[in-house]
């Protein structure tokens, strides 16, 4: 099917117009509004103590969520692809559950668990442990919304690799750590980096879940997105957009890294599968289909 050049031009123009009004214009607007009152106002908004505190809290929550998710992602993907056990399918679909739950509802879970109506609330109070309206709650909520990201990237790749090589290595006496480091890790490194990128992006920007559990205490439990909300609701638009521009820069870096990793992953795929027979191509296709559920 070959469309006429004119039809092609019209379709490209329509697609470009859609992207321009929905995606590009908002980015331009953020930068324009951030600099609307000049550089000094921009710098002032970024170096204000509450903004800096919010920045570090966001970094802290993101690093912890990503770190914990790496451990969980590798362990759960290993468990779900290398072993057969009862309840495996159930466990797999449980891990996907956060995809189906609104972030606000996720935040609500932790309010119910640690908040005032919780059965353990008095005990927590006695020991002066604050979870909700404090930093631990923010980390818990961030973990919840990013929970499936790394596992979902690793499982198709590890499933596709099969178990034979690891089994052979283990039979010949390699210990678990050696098997993982020498055989599994080289094979999953692209999928793992891809999962880390997705997880980082979501953790940096999570708003709904964190908003519920944070309590919005300035300088204490405010992450960057929450700080932006406060500034915006105070009609301090320049500052709100200035802080937003930091997140825009991070988003652009994430997009670039994503594309680099994807290119690397695809060439690794080609090396692994394209030389092989049809079986390999079939597996390749299957991975593509399962990848559709990625976010």
């Amino acid at each position: 099917m070959k469309e006429s050049k004119n039809l092609q031009r019209i379709l490209i123009f329509l697609a470009g117009a859609f992207l321009f009004f929905m995606l590009i214009l908002p980015l331009i607007l953020i930068i324009a509004e951030a600099l609307a009152k000049g550089w000094s106002a921009y710098i002032k908004a970024l170096t204000e103590p509450f903004a800096i505190k919010a920045f570090w809290l966001t970094i802290e929550a993101t690093l912890l969520a990503v770190g914990l998710n790496i451990i969980f992602g590798i362990a759960s993907a290993w468990l779900l692809t290398k072993f057969d056990f009862r309840g495996k399918t159930f466990l797999g679909s449980m891990i996907d559950l956060p995809f189906a739950i609104s972030p606000v509802v996720a935040g609500l879970f932790f309010i119910m668990l640690f908040g005032r109506m919780s059965p353990i609330y008095t005990t927590l109070q006695e020991y002066h442990i604050a979870v909700v309206f404090a930093v631990p709650g923010i980390i818990l909520a961030t973990m919840f919304v990013t929970f499936p990201f790394i596992t979902r990237e690793l499982i198709p790749v590890m499933e596709n690799q099969g178990r034979e090589i690891e089994e052979a290595a283990a039979t010949m006496g390699a210990n678990g750590w050696t098997v993982f480091r020498r055989i599994t890790l080289p094979n999953i490194k692209w999928a793992l980096s891809y999962g880390i990128i997705l997880c980082t992006a979501r953790a940096l920007g999570e708003f709904g879940a964190v908003s519920v559990v944070s309590g919005h205490i300035r300088g204490k439990t405010n992450t960057l997105p929450l700080h932006i909300e406060i500034l915006y609701n105070e009609y301090n638009f320049t500052a709100a957009f200035a802080v937003s521009s930091v997140l825009v820069i991070m988003a652009v870096i994430i997009l670039i890294l994503r594309n680099v990793i994807e290119a690397g992953g695809i060439s690794a795929f080609k090396k692994n599968f394209y030389d092989e027979n049809l079986q390999g191509q079939k597996k390749f296709l299957k991975i593509k289909f399962s990848k559709r559920f990625k976010f």
């Binding site: 490209i12 969980f72 759960s76 739950i101 609104s102 119910m112 997105p225 988003a251």
Partner: protein, 277 residues
């Protein structure tokens, strides 16, 4: 029935996985369900069917539905243009589609609000012809289109890329025109990814909060969305109503996703069978 595999690490990975799943999923979910079950069926129905809440579900549901439909059109257009045509800027366009995944929703929310508000760069033209493009159902839909577009475009792209060009050539040789080829040969292949993308965008749209809350205007009985009602109830310390709304939302999006998951796995099986022949 444990594994007889020689691969080490079963107990270690099981332990770590169960620890995380319990701490972050089971225990929070169980405590929520425990709390919700404590309120009794009568109270649940009263809270869940409160007129203001029902209105909020309707707003969330209808705006998410319309946004997902519009995304099907533009997602297909974007995927089509990006996989089949070559033009300058194609790679940047391709990368840009993922922006809604990478950009924090609150940032997207305030940017879209400013853009489509009465004195905004784009909004002024809508308001001039009497269409309120912000603080209205249309505003909510715009935000949900932003959030949902990658789901649809990214679902369709791999399928379009893997289509066999020989089928189109054959149809062309037999004299089929472009429209017939698209309708009879290409589109049937795209139904399944379109549905997947639609379901993902739809269920995300129902639960979406950050990008919508700024542009919605949040007027009771008009532009309040379901997640906002949970926030409102929480601020009033009305935990039972919040839980009731949450349950309704969870049932809604789980139904959508499970429905599409069942369809998807059936389809995957068919594709596998096709390859074995």
């Amino acid at each position: 029935m444990t594994s007889k595999s020689v691969i080490p690490g079963y107990h270690l990975s099981l332990g770590i996985t169960m620890f995380f799943v319990s701490l972050f999923l089971f225990i929070p979910l169980a405590s929520f369900l425990l709390f919700a079950s404590g309120m009794g069926i009568e109270k649940f129905i009263k809270a869940a069917t409160d007129y203001r809440n029902v209105h909020a579900y309707a707003v969330s549901f209808s705006c998410a539905f319309i946004a997902a439909l519009i995304n099907c059109v533009f997602g297909l257009l974007l995927a089509w243009v990006l996989t089949r045509y070559d033009f300058p800027g194609r790679r940047i366009m391709d990368a840009l589609i993922d922006l809604p995944f990478a950009l924090p929703t609150a940032v997207a929310g305030i940017a879209l609000t400013t853009l489509y508000a009465e004195n905004g760069w784009v909004g002024q033209f809508f308001y001039a012809i009497g269409i309120p493009s912000a603080f209205s159902a249309m505003g909510i839909t715009i935000a949900l289109i932003f959030v949902g577009i990658p789901f649809v475009a990214r679902s369709i792209q791999p399928v379009l890329r893997d289509l066999d060009p020989q089928l189109e050539e054959a149809a062309n040789v037999f004299g089929a025109d472009n429209w017939t080829i698209f309708r009879r040969i290409i589109f049937p292949e795209l139904v399944s990814p379109l549905l997947t993308g639609f379901a993902l965008a739809f269920s995300r749209g129902i639960g979406e909060y950050g990008s919508v809350v700024f542009i919605a205007g949040n007027m009771p009985y008009e532009t309040e969305i379901a997640p906002l009602m949970i926030m409102t109830k929480l601020e009033q310390f009305d935990y039972q109503s919040a839980a009731a709304i949450a349950i309704v939302m969870m049932v809604l999006s789980l139904t959508i996703l499970l429905g599409i998951h069942g369809y998807q796995s059936r389809r995957l099986k068919n594709i596998g069978a096709g390859f074995n022949n």
